[in-house]
């Protein structure tokens, strides 16, 4: 019986039903559309595919999307940790409201967020007008894209780290202090290592979201080909040209890259859990 090898006896029956459902569901929702994407891509011949993939405009968008997404996720790791720390460790008036506000980037329609950010950072916007005299432009530049990606990624870090922080035993920090460790050392050698697995998960989620983000970015990006044009936008442009195979090819390369990066992040996560997760 092959099923006996991965099926442990349980008080709740229904393994076959549940497993079958899971596979069928994943197939319909995830696997078949993705497979279709690759099938569509390979309707192109190799020379055509190679031409699309080495297109300068695509390469620039690829670099922009993945580079800025990684950067934004990394930025969110640092400041998301600080926000999570403040929200769990201190009680102050308005803490609950601030806590609820963290989820706003989840809830807001991304286009609304994009328009709001553009309005604020445009050269005549609330923040933009103070930066414009110094020649600093945020909206319609890569900096604007970065800000939009940071905005939508923040909740991922905060919400994955927060529960772990709440469970963190204060005694452990006190033990570190009684042993003579300074506050910084306690943070870097005692607190942060315990947060590592959750932080890596949050990083992966924020990154994945940023790579695929469309709505909030296109308004603030300015969308200059080769400069501020993100990958999802390039796909939309190809679709509007009725170039379905071309769009699918870009999507396929994007998907493959994302998959490779997420697998790598998962390996790091598994390692960190082994290394730091003993408890």
């Amino acid at each position: 019986m092959p099923s006996a090898t991965f099926r442990t006896p349980s008080v709740i029956p229904g393994f076959r039903l549940a497993f079958g459902f899971t596979i069928a569901y994943l197939a319909v929702i995830v696997l078949i559309p993705i497979a279709g994407l690759y099938v569509q891509t390979f309707t192109l011949d190799w020379a055509e595919l190679w031409r699309i993939l080495t297109d300068r405009r695509l390469l620039a968008a690829l670099q922009l999307s993945f580079g800025l997404s990684l950067l934004a996720a990394a930025f969110n790791v640092v400041f998301g940790l600080v926000v999570a720390w403040v929200l769990t460790r201190y009680s102050f008036p308005g803490r609950r409201i601030l806590d609820a506000a963290i989820d706003l980037p989840f809830a807001l329609p991304t286009a609304v967020a994009g328009i709001a950010l553009t309005a604020i950072y445009a050269p005549n916007g609330i923040i933009g007008q103070w930066l414009a005299p110094y020649g600093i432009r945020i909206a319609y530049t890569q900096a604007g894209i970065f800000i939009a990606l940071v905005f939508i990624g923040l909740p991922f870090i905060v919400r994955t780290v927060q529960p772990v922080l709440e469970q963190l035993d204060r005694e452990v920090e006190e033990a570190s202090a009684t042993l003579g460790a300074s506050r910084l050392r306690t943070i870097f050698q005692v607190v942060l290592p315990t947060l590592a697995p959750a932080t890596i998960t949050g990083f992966a989620l924020a990154f994945a979201r940023a790579v695929g983000e469309y709505g909030s970015v296109i308004f603030i990006a300015g969308n200059l080909p080769g400069k501020t044009e993100i990958l999802p936008l390039l796909i939309v442009i190809r679709l509007e040209e009725y170039n379905y195979a071309g769009a699918a090819a870009i999507a396929a390369i994007m998907l493959t890259l994302s998959f490779v990066i997420l697998v790598f992040v998962n390996i790091v996560h598994a390692w960190s859990q082994r290394r730091f997760g003993h408890g």
Binding site: D169, E171, V172, E174, A175, V190, H278
Partner: protein, 346 residues
């Protein structure tokens, strides 16, 4: 290192956790802070460690005023109830932590650290456990590693907060004996907090009984048990039953019967007698004995125990009695109280 605690008070908001506590702990002594929860014992321990700062008062380590020193500067070994081991570090790294975080001028080399850690692992009798993670140890083993980690920094004093609280009864007993032996060998001035009177009595040289932020009594386990200083200590340590009495002209009267007990300087008026079961004798009714009736008989381990209703029957106390004493349920019996504490009625 002698510890002097002078007039330490601590308020948490509007509630006072400690009201002006004075205490001197002699060098090399093993002291128990004993009390119910909320008595301020843990707060006092944390103030000594520097994990908490007092509202008023001073802490002296030997001749030095340590009141304003940070916890890092105090060099105390602190053992937490739930061990507080660093779970992402091996046992070895846990014990070495306190040495590795020293400033480079006083930090020993890795070879020296290795020697020290191995010595400590031997001391806590877990020599082969250096490579394990805390999750792979039992509760008792974790607590011993926590102790080794605290000792690694060569602390001036060793402070333990309910060190055996999270362990099961057998491990607790073994660890208790082991800690006493360890203390006798290493000679650290040691203060531990407990709410378990057996633990305090068995382990400590002197016991500090605390209640509601005050010290009720400070003394050897014998002092505490045999000569409780306050009604609270009588109730909290061992068993005691309250008997309302009248003091008149130096005589102690219960419902008009004169008891053969000194009034111990208690002034005339109403008073309360605290009677321990082992200080009560039962005999056939006779002159000079308190008339009583046997209500319940039971066996408590090695002892025979009788619950008797005194005089008119409203007051019940318990008495231990030997095999030679004839007692029967619902029968009259004579009671003699050989020894008791007496305090003016509140």
């Amino acid at each position: 290192m002698q510890l002097d605690i002078r007039d330490i008070a601590k308020d948490f908001g509007a509630t006072a956790a400690l009201h002006g506590v004075d205490l001197t702990i002699r060098s090399g002594e093993l002291i128990a802070l004993l009390g119910p929860s909320g008595s301020g014992k843990t707060t006092l321990l944390r103030i000594i460690a520097g994990l908490e700062f007092p509202t008023r008062g001073q802490v002296f380590f030997g001749p030095d005023d340590a009141s304003h020193r940070s916890v890092q500067e105090r060099n105390v070994g602190f053992v937490f109830q739930h061990y507080a081991l660093f779970r992402h570090m091996t046992v070895y790294d846990n014990i070495a932590f306190g040495l590795r975080v020293r400033p480079s001028a006083t930090r020993p080399g890795e070879a020296e650290i290795r020697k020290k850690v191995e010595t400590l692992l031997d001391l806590v009798q877990l020599p082969e456990y250096g490579k394990r993670f805390p999750a792979q140890l039992s509760g008792g083993q974790r607590q011993r590693i926590a102790l080794a980690r605290a000792l690694a920094i060569e602390p001036k004093v060793l402070l333990l907060d309910e060190p055996f609280g999270a362990l099961d009864a057998r491990v607790r007993k073994d660890l208790r004996r082991w800690l006493r032996e360890l203390h006798d060998r290493t000679g650290h001035t040691t203060v531990f907090v407990t709410h378990d009177q057996d633990e305090a009595m068995e382990l400590a040289d002197r016991v500090v009984v605390m209640s509601q932020g005050r010290i009720e009594q400070l003394g050897t386990p014998d002092d505490i048990y045999d000569r409780p200083a306050t009604p609270f200590v009588y109730d909290f340590i061992g068993e005691a039953f309250r008997v309302p009495v009248e003091v008149s002209g130096g005589a102690v009267l219960f419902e008009g019967n004169r008891l053969d007990l000194p009034a111990q300087g208690v002034r005339d008026g109403r008073a309360t007698l605290f009677v321990r079961p082992e200080n009560v004798s039962l005999a056939p009714p006779a002159d000079g004995l308190l008339p009583a009736q046997v209500e319940i008989l039971r066996r408590a381990g090695a002892r025979r125990r009788a619950e008797v209703a005194l005089g008119a029957g409203a007051i019940r106390i318990e008495a231990d009695y030997g095999a030679g004493v004839e007692v029967a349920l619902k029968q009259p019996v004579g009671v003699a109280i050989r020894e008791a504490g007496i305090f003016p009625a509140a």
